[in-house]
C-alpha cells in the first residue's frame, strides 16, 4: 500500500485532532484542557486545506484558535482558574453514557463506513476566496445580512447580560 502525501498529511492531522480531544477528556486542570483543544482546532484547519477550503482554514485559525480559545480562557480566569474538575459523576452514569455514545457512534459508523460516491472534478481550489465572495453576495445574500443582525444582537446581549449584575451589586452596596 503506497501512501500519497495527501494521505500522510490526513493521517497526521487526524491523529493530532483526536489526541487533542482525548486530552480534553482526560486532563484534570481546566486551563490545560483548553490548550489541548487548540491542537484540535489547528489540525481541523489543516484538514480544511486538504479539502481545498483555504479561506475557511484561515477563518478557523482566526476565530477558533484565536478568538474562542481566548474568550474561554478569559471565562476560566474570571471564575475559578485553578479549578481541577472534580469527578463527581457516578460510575454507573459514566458507563451508561459511554454505552449510549458508543451505540450512537456504531450506528453512524454502519451508515458511513462504505459510503462510496464517485469523486468529481471540482474547481474549488481556484480562487477560493473569490468564489466564496461571489456566492455570498449573490446566492446567499439574505442569510448573510441576517448573520450581521445576529452578531449585533449577540454583542448587545452579551454586554447587557454581563453588566447588569455588576450595576445592581454596586447599587446594593451603596
Amino acid at each position: 500500500m503506497s501512501l500519497s502525501g495527501e494521505m500522510i498529511a490526513f493521517i497526521l492531522l487526524s491523529l493530532v485532532a483526536i489526541i487533542g480531544g482525548i486530552l480534553l477528556i482526560n486532563l484534570t486542570r481546566v486551563v490545560h484542557m483548553v490548550i489541548a483543544l487548540v491542537f484540535t482546532f489547528i489540525s481541523v484547519a489543516g484538514l480544511y486545506v486538504l479539502l481545498s477550503a483555504e479561506f475557511l482554514a484561515a477563518v478557523q485559525i482566526l476565530i477558533y484558535s484565536g478568538a474562542i480559545t481566548i474568550i474561554m480562557l478569559f471565562g476560566i480566569m474570571l471564575t475559578r482558574h485553578n479549578d481541577t474538575s472534580e469527578k463527581t459523576a457516578g460510575v454507573w452514569r459514566k458507563l451508561l453514557l459511554i454505552a449510549g455514545i458508543a451505540g450512537f457512534g456504531l450506528a453512524s459508523y454502519a451508515g458511513i463506513y462504505n459510503l462510496d460516491i464517485p469523486v468529481q472534478e471540482t474547481k474549488l481550489h481556484e480562487d477560493n476566496t473569490r468564489q466564496i465572495g461571489m456566492a455570498l453576495y449573490s446566492d446567499h445574500m439574505i442569510p448573510f445580512e441576517l448573520t450581521s443582525v445576529l452578531l449585533l444582537a449577540a454583542l448587545i446581549g452579551a454586554i447587557i447580560l454581563a453588566k447588569k449584575d455588576d450595576e445592581k451589586k454596586e447599587g446594593e452596596e451603596s
Partner: protein, 104 residues
C-alpha cells in the same frame, strides 16, 4: 485526484463528535461544557466541507454553510460566557450540578 476517501473524513468527524458529546455530558465545569459543544460544531463543519468537495454535487455552498455555522458558534460562545459570568457573580459557582434553581 483525491486519494483520501470521503468516508475517512466522515469517520474522523464522527470520532470528534463523540468526544465532544462525552465531554459535554460528563464534565462538571460549565466552561468545559461550552468548549465541548464547540468541538461538536467543529465536527459538523468538517462534514459540511467534506461534502462540499467530495459529495455527489460538489459546490461552494458547503463552505458558505460552514462559515455561517462558525459565526453562529462564535455568537453562542459569547452569550453563553456572558450568562456564565452573570451566574458566577450571583452564586459563586461554575459547577453545572449546582445550577438547579429552576428545579424547585
Amino acid at each position: 485526484m483525491n486519494s483520501v476517501p470521503l468516508s475517512a473524513y466522515l469517520v474522523l468527524a464522527l470520532i470528534l463528535f463523540c468526544i465532544g458529546l462525552y465531554g459535554a455530558l460528563t464534565k462538571r465545569n460549565a466552561v468545559i461544557v461550552l468548549i465541548s459543544i464547540e468541538l461538536m460544531l467543529n465536527a459538523v463543519n468538517i462534514n459540511l466541507v467534506a461534502f462540499s468537495k467530495l459529495g455527489p454535487a460538489p459546490s461552494i455552498s458547503g463552505q458558505i454553510f460552514s462559515l455561517f455555522t462558525i459565526t453562529v458558534a462564535a455568537a453562542e460562545a459569547a452569550v453563553g460566557l456572558a450568562i456564565l459570568m452573570s451566574l458566577y457573580n450571583r452564586r459563586k459557582t461554575v459547577n453545572v450540578d449546582e445550577m438547579d434553581q429552576l428545579k424547585h
